[in-house]
């Protein structure tokens, strides 16, 4: 069955450093992958999409990579700020176009 794994342990990072989150998947061959941000008590908000033929995608201080050989996506937050503290989810489409979401990784940025 299709499976998505994100680090369940919270990532504690100092302000100004780069946070790196991992999304690993098995039994998928996704044409693209999405990343979302979720704040406590709120719905997820779409951040970035990366296609299988794109190695890297950037949006402001965010960078996403997609390695279809390793079946892995990395999500980087550079020059992190306390306002970046949230849970970050990766999502992949299944064979029928519906999305499967990872459990998310919580990021805590301390001043």
């Amino acid at each position: 069955s299709q499976k998505i794994e994100q680090n369940s342990e919270a990532l504690n990072i100092q302000e100004g450093k780069t946070a790196t989150l991992t999304c690993n998947y098995t039994n998928y061959s996704p044409a693209y992958l999405q990343w979302y941000r979720q704040d406590p008590g709120r719905g997820p908000v779409f951040l970035l999409l990366i296609r299988e033929n794109e190695k890297e995608k950037r949006k402001e201080r965010l960078k996403v990579t997609f390695d279809t050989t390793l079946k892995q996506s990395l999500f980087h937050i550079t020059a992190s700020q306390p306002a970046d503290s949230a849970t970050y989810l990766c999502a992949l489409p299944d064979s029928w176009g519906k999305f499967q979401f990872g459990a998310g990784t919580q990021v805590v940025v301390t001043p």
Binding site: R42, W96, F99
Partner: protein
Amino acid sequence: SQTIHQWPATLVQPVGSPLSLECTVEGTSNPNLYWYRQAAGRGLQLLFYSVGIGQISSEVPQNLSASRPQDRQFILSSKKLLLSDSGFYLCAWSPAVWGSNQPQHFGDGTRLSIL
């Protein structure tokens, strides 16, 4: 611009009581609509999705049901709630291009507690 509204924000219900959660979307036509449940520390579990009025697909067997009486209205219901129905319920929409790379847009959820 498109907006999605979900209510109520929180709900406390006794076991065995009925449930009705409502979601409406504004600013778009014929959206794909979704109901998810999120348990603490876990990912989003897709419960139902709809590609049009009256068209509902169920992802997991349970005592919940969904209906889409209007193009931009999606309702999650139960006749008798169970303790296991507690959780954070999220409604989402995406443009009606099935299988495309369109992002999903979520409401702010309903925190449902069953006593």
